[in-house]
Assembly symmetry: C2
Homo-oligomer: 449 residues x 2
């Protein structure tokens, strides 16, 4: 008899098969049981009929609790009502371990997220987290394939870094033998060394921020992909960001149909994600936001009215806030590139435009309230300007002396960006909390399991 997976069952219609896995759910009466059987690759209905199986098999199928590990044997039959197209007429149920007190109810879901995250090691078996994490797996492979196919060299940045050059307040400090190390917040500066050596590199690994905020959007540990390319300027960076997003979203739409359906994701918004994205100068975005602010204030939709109050809260000339990003997403209903932010609000390594007033940076804002999913731009390539910026931003010069070397020894125009994987998965799956987009989320209040 063939030992097969649920995902392959369609190839075995009218054949006897063996399935190894777990009891996910059960309905039924005194004469007919419908077991929902899962093995990680899918869920199939196994029909156990009292009149067709030995009494002991029927009693076992009736008795065992959810998540009991079992081996099921039976005949595969066509069933057009099921999403899988088949079901199994069970003839034998062998119990590996009988379970009776599985701590998660089938119906339990996001409203109980804190309890469920305490049980994350088990909750990942449930349909919703299972679907989200399968999308994550596809998204990560899509990102890796995108860069591999385009001849980028994978260039892993170190996790332990000797000193921070920005955002000291959100750094995790690690005693490192006789020294103090810090967990990386971004591999970008290291990525730049790679761009000078390989032309095109991609850094892709976990990054860390000691975020004290408790929002739906923050994790202390998250994965970030950071391409960096020599001789690439702002327009080319926007091209690359667009291509990458379109590729990744397209792969998820193509390969994760069942998962997105399980998640009841409205995929029409994702299907609209086609390049070119609207490219909006920061000053233009400010004008649009002023317009949206007054437009939303007069809306019948109380959510829009509420949002209106928060639009441009940071003030003109400042970085965009979450409400601004949400409003722009509602307006354009598509990913947008906002470029040329005021130089003052951006990091020391951003290249200034010829006026000196703007940074040649770009943020990509995703629609549906997701906000910024990409931040990047051209890097300052002038030694003099970079050194002045380091001084102005109070960056300890010794912490970046190796980085400054890149402007001493064959500096060239270059740039790249960073995209957070969990934010991207959150958007694609439409899940409410970014915590759902990673197997074991870490936040200010969560270090377990």
């Amino acid at each position: 008899m063939n030992s097969v997976t649920v995902s392959a069952l369609k190839q075995y219609v009218d054949q006897e098969v063996e399935l190894k896995g777990w009891l996910y759910n059960r309905r039924g009466s005194g004469k007919l049981l419908f077991l929902q059987f899962r093995d990680g690759t899918g869920v199939v209905q196994v029909v156990v009929s009292k009149k067709d199986v030995p009494e002991e098999v029927f009693e076992t199928a009736k008795r065992i609790g959810y998540e009991s590990s079992i081996i099921v044997r039976g005949k595969v039959t066509k069933d057009d009502r099921s999403a899988l197209g088949v079901e199994v007429q069970g003839s034998a149920v062998e119990v590996i371990q009988e379970v009776h007190d599985y701590p998660i109810q089938i119906t339990e879901d996001v409203p109980n997220i804190d309890k469920l995250l305490d049980l994350r090691h088990l909750w990942v078996r449930s349909k919703r987290p299972h679907a989200i994490l399968k999308v994550r797996s596809e998204v990560v492979q899509a990102i890796r394939d995108f860069y591999y196919e385009r001849d980028f060299v994978l260039y892993d940045a170190p996790i332990f870094t000797p000193a921070s050059c920005e955002g000291v307040s959100t750094l995790f400090e690690v005693p490192y033998f006789e020294e103090t190390g810090y967990l990386t917040q971004s591999g970008q500066l290291y990525g730049e060394t790679g761009a000078m050596a390989f032309g095109k590199v991609v850094v892709f690994g976990p990054t860390f921020r000691a975020e004290k905020s408790k929002t739906r959007r923050h994790l202390t540990e998250f994965w970030m992909v950071e391409p960096e390319v020599a001789f690439l300027e702002l327009d080319g960076i926007m091209d690359l960001a667009e291509q990458q997003i379109q590729y990744v979203v397209g792969r998820a739409l193509d390969k994760c149909k069942a998962e997105l359906k399980e998640l009841e994701r409205d995929t029409s918004v994702l299907e609209q994600v086609v390049k070119p994205f609207p490219r909006i100068h920061y000053e233009e975005a400010q004008k649009v936001l002023q317009q949206l602010k007054s437009e939303f204030a007069k809306s019948d939709d109380p959510e829009k009215v509420k949002l209106s109050g928060d639009i441009l809260k940071n003030g003109l000339g400042d970085d965009l806030g979450a409400a601004d990003e949400t409003a722009l997403g509602m307006h354009y209903k598509q990913c947008i590139c906002i470029h040329h932010y005021p130089r003052e609000v951006k990091a020391f390594y951003m290249k200034a435009d010829p006026t000196g007033k703007y940074a040649m940076g770009v943020d990509v804002i995703a629609p549906e309230g997701v906000g910024e999913i990409i931040g990047g731009g051209q890097r300052e390539d002038s030694l003099e300007v970079l050194e002045a910026q380091i001084k102005k931003h109070n960056v300890p010069p010794e912490s970046v002396s190796w980085y400054v070397d890149l402007r001493k020894y064959g500096s060239v125009p270059h740039g790249g960006f960073g995209m957070g994987v969990e934010r991207c998965v959150q958007w694609i799956t439409g899940c409410q909390h970014v915590r759902e987009a990673i197997p074991f989320p870490r936040t200010i209040y969560r270090l377990t399991p």
Copy 2:
């Protein structure tokens, strides 16, 4: 004019092209200069002839120092003597940044590794590290493709863990808000939660060991791939390990010919890596080692004589030492699987064989003195036995209560293994130090750059 990369030059024979990159080296006389031009995708010879170019172009090409960033224009011509098959007849050299004091000599290499690692941000441009890190990039993609093609779900384990269950002495501790966290040493236990949810998962991320040893083989931060599969038993785990190694080595041989040639790697050993690998019971390995010990003692080769003294140093019935692994590698000249180690020397989660004497684990030993590149096996799936092992190994029960849950709620036979990426790259490239196999190595003495 086409702006092209060195890697694509062959397609432009007899055409005028533009190249953007850096001056890598230069030979020549008063009349003819041979510039070695690099752009990250390769190195090409650019010939600049005094009689064919304006005086100012020739003077520039003669004057600028190594690693000056330049734009070169010229005609591509066939050149069968070069590995690339082409060279460029330079007509213009435009300088982006002129450099004169590049701190690394072309001839500098591994003997100066400490100085070169201080300059790692620049050294990656040199041919040897460039080649090794390109192999690393290919190896990582090959690993990811191997599992993706076989329907494994990528399942990222957390980096921050709440408590350690083994090897406390090599743990990095991190102040985590009001608590204490530890950097992960292995994602395996988390991977097991994924195997129960998805059937087949792969964990792949950085892991950390506060290694105080200064050997060529240790890093404090290294990447590890850890597949974990439900219903997979010891033989299946060895099959998977063999397949994965053969696939990865095969991809490197196929895709990294130029790099392995640059590294002067004798690829004949790698070509012999074909499954099935010899599978040797621990007790048999002990016998072979006893034989090798006396055989090597009588050898004419002083290295073998020296090795002989270290064989079986750990004593019979103990874990294998580095000399044992080296000797076995020399004997079999191929990857080998050593299985059924004595249970006492292995971790608490290893499944005992029916006699209770051996652990159903396996190490894969690579030849050429590389030693263990894979460690894994079947996990204990009995709740009672696991709880007894936890007690015996003095593991704090609260630290593994979530892990024990996997044996309460639908336990099934399962297993997997871990392979260190850097050790694998070190072997494939034949590099001496594992520090060369990662862009920015971290060791007890190195946290920079």
